[in-house]
Subunit: 73 residues, 6 copies
């Protein structure tokens, strides 16, 4: 009975606005396979929920992501 | 002091794009009443937050929901 | 495909240390039935996860729960 | 290694549709500084994620926020 | 900037009380590698948090996990 | 109506097993004050929930925290 929540910044992908449905499907397949292989969890009761988060809503190092990257680069 | 987070796939409702505000209000009322009745939790300090999740962002059985339903049907 | 997370303060129940397994089972049954009845969600793909939180880890009104209750009573 | 998730109702700000990017940046800076000062957590490994939630998706006292405020006012 | 939260039922592993630290490390490595490979996310800013949940706190099909398994078997 | 969830690694504090109740109270007070001051959120409907996470359950850079620190130091 795993429940996996993956939060990512909304960026990248073909138009810079986040991953494609195919890329998300690959993530869903990959994490489900991983939990099955390593922890013996059944895929049929494995949920994966992906949340894309706008860059201004994600902070690291005390700064929103964009300012953080400008600072560290 | 309960905090309840309900994540559902964004579908159903009158236009297939998710529940109406009235349906969500019924869910909020119902879960708050349930926690009051069974666990004696005060409604005035019970929060309920509903998240609707796009179908391509929800996986089960290693597949996004739509492909999963095609496979099991 | 609902996923429901219920966080409650760890208190109440027969010994003051939280609800019994039977009470939790009643909550699980109740919220699953509610989502089936109101939103037409299938119980077989409804997950409910209950977290009990120590009183010192829950704040409201800028205070941990115990101090908050002393203040408002 | 803190991860902070802040959920707020989507309201307020200059147009009533939620806080500005600058206000969110101030929240990110403030909570990161707080955890550094009180708990000695390193800002470089502190994540802050802000979620804005529509008013109809947030319940308190068994009611969606708007009805709740009408009732208590 | 991914944040991944993996909730699993507390069972399995050498003593039936959940995965070993090595198994969890393998999950952490695997999901981080997956997000790097598929979504180009940097491992250095990928957090993974694993929560183990007692069987009586996890419901599916309207029942706690143990009763659910007895019913479907 | 804010809900704030703060996850931290379980370490530090007087015995190395996490912050004291007083330190957590200071975090609760600080984040509630911050949201009141910057976003005009009412403290009486601000919840803060703190989760302490064992070091083996937190990963960064593809490694559990302890190995990660050994690697970067």
């Amino acid at each position: 009975m795993p429940y996996v929540n993956i939060k990512i910044t909304k960026e990248g992908g073909p138009d810079g606005k986040g991953p494609t449905a195919d890329e998300k499907a690959e993530v869903i397949a990959g994490v489900t396979e991983l939990l099955s292989r390593v922890l013996n969890k059944k895929p049929s009761t494995t949920f994966v929920v992906i949340d894309e988060v706008d860059l201004e809503d994600w902070g690291i190092g005390g700064l929103p992501v964009i300012q953080y990257r400008q600072q560290v680069s």
